[in-house]
Amino acid sequence: MKNKEVKNWNFLLGLILSIVILLPLCSAGVGISWSKESSLVRENTKTCLTYKVYNPWPDDSYAQIKLSDELMQIMTSRGSETEFIPHDTSSSMAIPVEFCFKTPKVYEKNCWLFGELICKKECKEEMKIFDGEVEVIEVDSPETVEGSGGSATKMSVSAPIRVKVQCIAHSRDYSVIYIAVILIAGILLTINLTRKRNKKQ
């Protein structure tokens, strides 16, 4: 009976010692949870995805979501606001963060005027696919500076993302011509009716 008690005390002491020794080794951290790795979007459109961030570590942390450098060269994104992630936030309690980016114009269109008007799009090219990552970056805390000469450190976790840009084919768009015709005819009609009224008077 006494032996069992002693064993229990030893186990408890060991556990406390492990925690005391290991805890100072950890600082704040960040985690990312995701369930989407690819996205089918139209070109030149704003797209929003939701990622979850968490922090199972003993210290609070701040994090930002942004696209990796290779995708930043193609997509337009401002990144997310800085998110506060409280300590001991497990993956099951992860905080959803919406993150938006705009896809570029990637498919050729055949235009008659100024490269933008009276256009048609045939979509003969293969679907454009861009691979990269969405990164959750731990934002610096001011208290991390220890010495003078050397390297500051930063950390991040990332999730892969594949952006498939969809091409929507359309026939030549003559809307500009129709609008111009309506405007010209409208002006002529107004002038004609005004003259007629003036003659009557």
Binding site: L25, S33, S35, G147, S148, S151, T153, A185, N192
Partner: protein, 199 residues
């Protein structure tokens, strides 16, 4: 009885406007829903992944090489390369923890933002800053003999590290003889990705 004069010009103009309006309608009727500027995305993956990591407090505080009195200096130790008492004496306390609250082993990537640079814009080339990593630590591991230079693009510095494990690092710096005095700094970045994922 006076015959009312028909104004053909007005009629033709009205007809032109009507036809143009009809054509404009048919041109855009398919595009009404197609030219939206914002839309929801379609996803084709439903598997959930989650991973988390944290820098050990000594690594989070930065990699510092102290004051150097004589040059050249070779393999100058980072201040926490050998100051560990746990799990063994003289181990490194530069480490990255992989959380147990994850469902995928992790690959770790490392890079720097550039040369160590002083306020006077003097530089110590990034090739002079080296590291070595290992999944455990003692007085020999991570090995000095396995040192690799940092670069400005990410490279793997630990692969397939299971959840709940730790990856240890050591850092060294070479300073050439003719290096001007000053305080030199840069930033080293660590990134966790799923196994076999690109950095």
């Amino acid at each position: 009885m006076t015959k009312k004069r028909v104004n053909w010009f007005t009629i033709v103009l009205i007809l032109i406007i009507l036809v143009a309006l009809i054509l404009l309608f048919f041109q855009n009727v398919n595009a009404i829903t197609g030219h939206a500027t914002q839309q929801n995305t379609t996803s084709n993956v439903t598997i959930q992944y989650y991973l988390s990591l944290s820098l050990c407090s000594n690594l989070s505080s930065g990699i510092w090489f102290g004051e150097v009195a004589s040059l050249p200096a070779t393999d100058l130790n980072g201040s926490h390369n050998y100051d560990g008492n746990y799990p063994t004496v003289n181990g490194s306390t530069y480490c990255v923890n992989i959380s147990t609250d994850g469902n995928s082993p992790v690959d770790l990537c490392i890079k720097s933002d550039g040369d160590l640079t002083s306020v006077a814009a003097d530089k110590i080339g990034l090739a002079n800053e080296t590291y070595s990593n290992y999944t455990s630590t003692n007085s020999t591991h991570p090995l000095l003999g396995s040192q690799t230079s940092l670069s400005t693009s990410y490279s793997k510095s630990g692969v397939n590290i299971p959840v709940g494990n730790v990856n240890y690092y050591r850092f060294w710096l070479d300073i050439p003889a003719a290096q001007p005095s000053g305080t030199y700094n840069n930033t080293v970045q660590f990134k966790g990705v799923t196994v076999a994922g690109a950095c």
